[in-house]
Amino acid sequence: MDVLYILWLRQVRRYWRSGSRLLGTLGQPILLLLALGYGIGAIYRRAGEGNYLQFLVPGIITQTVLLSGIFWGIIILQDKRFGFLSEMLVAPVSRTKILLGSALGGATISIFQGILVFVLSVVFGFRPHSWAAVGPAFLVLVLMCVALTSFGAAIASMVDDFQGFQGINNLLVMPLFFLSSALYPLNNVPTALRIISTLNPVSYMVDALRHLLSNQAHFGLGKDMVVMAVVFVLCLAFAINRFNRIQM
């Protein structure tokens, strides 16, 4: 327990001290909220679809934790490149524990950012469908953040340089976001796009949050939770497997 705590604390301390990282990751959601929420919102309403902000906010929260979760992996890459990983890996502690403590720290940072975006959205005019559902939505957020952080850790364990990591991420994060149900309802999109979005696990994360926060759902909460549970287990197993294979 002490070991998990100190590894978690390391991540949180580092994050808390780096103001630029905090601001950097909030810039994009604010931009998306303003440009899309208000820009597209007018057309959306005219098309008879209702309030776009109510639809969009769960998507923006997901985008925030998708980005910060996967990009958190860069810390593992830094540890690898700048030597601190050696210090942790020769300690009499299992690698799985090192990964879990660190990833939980990373997930905590993502959760914090997700909450921050939620609060910002409320300032911008978003109203949760029911305040009682905010608690369950938080649990969904936790599940998502741990899964995505683990995924980032797995990728960072496999690559050796920052450019490679950046490249893989751009190739992954952007499509995962744009080809999901984050920005548009899946009802009226072309079949090809609908198929891709239905196969994209991020759609189910957005859908669960949207169900709880805005009372709008495409797949239904049951299906969302099943997919998320599977993704959670797969991401964690993937990360543990890759982290255990890092060569020193």
């Binding site: 002490d2 070991v3 390391r10 301390r13 050696s86 210090e87 942790m88 300690a91 009499p92 020193m248």
Partner: protein, 268 residues
């Protein structure tokens, strides 16, 4: 009867077709300062990585304070402290936080952590910088802190992998004086690798010269001179390892060096 604290028997490490360490055996006694001396790519780092559980030997047996490094890995890990060749501190944490993290990873009881950390920081003269971030530390300060950190869990063995690379003469002297004191006063066993002859000669009580993955000679400086019928350690060393530059003579060693440095993932 003396008891060996570090023992290697027939240890070999292969990377694919390349044999980095070839059937080496040696023993280091309690309280001894032992140096592994050899040119670049000779197998020094691979040996120290196997000793410190970072690499698994392809064959052979390694024990630290009686613990087999592959079968009783965690007990072996608690028995040694290490100063890595490359810097290994978290730059965005303070000196104290780096020490605290290490103490927790090694299971030092909470109540003992603070007094022990403060004592060690005083010892390496960093108590005044206890709460400064590592990114504000000079190379010498970092090295001192790494030594202090390596001693935090009171290991019986201290490994130093080319510990003076990039340090100025003052810091080097200070560091070695301190390491010698540890060995003499606390009976700590010191194992270090170097390619500086003067360090091996001045600091180590016994030297093993390693080349092409094999130990080619071992003993005290006078013994090595006697074995090679030379007058100085430098002459003995050159006679044993040849005076040609490694990189130009052997393509295999180029490949090995490249492979090893890729493994080390060095940036600096």
């Amino acid at each position: 009867m003396t008891k060996s604290v570090i023992s290697a028997k027939g240890v070999t490490k292969r990377f694919g077709d390349i044999v980095a360490v070839d059937d080496i055996s040696f023993d280091v006694q309690k309280g001894e300062i032992f140096a592994f001396l050899g040119p670049n790519g000779a197998g020094k780092s691979t040996t120290i990585k196997m000793l410190t559980t970072m690499l698994r030997p392809t064959s052979g047996k390694l024990t630290l304070a009686g613990h087999d490094v592959t079968r009783e890995r965690d007990s072996a890990r608690k028995a040694f402290g290490i100063v890595f060749q490359d810097p290994s501190l978290d730059e965005e944490l303070s000196a104290y936080e780096n020490m605290e993290l290490h103490a927790t990873l090694y299971g030092v009881p909470k109540a003992d952590q603070r007094p022990r950390i403060e004592e060690l920081l005083k010892l390496v003269e960093l108590d005044g910088r206890r709460d400064s971030m590592i990114k504000t530390f000079s190379g010498g300060m970092r090295r001192r802190l790494e030594i202090a950190r390596g001693l935090l869990h009171e290991p019986r063995i201290l490994f130093l992998d080319e510990p003076t690379l990039g340090l100025d003469t003052q810091t080097r002297n200070l560091m070695w004086n301190y390491v010698q004191k540890l060995s003499h006063e606390k009976g700590m066993t010191i194992f270090f690798t170097t390619h500086y002859l003067d360090e091996a000669e001045d600091v180590a009580e016994r030297i093993a010269i390693i080349d092409h993955g094999k130990i080619v000679a071992r003993g005290t400086t006078p013994e090595l001179c006697r074995q090679t019928k030379t007058k100085t350690l430098e002459e003995a060393y050159l006679q044993l390892t040849g005076s040609t530059l490694r990189d130009e003579t052997n393509a295999d060693y180029n490949a090995l060096n490249m492979k090893l440095s890729a493994r080390n993932r060095k940036l600096r």
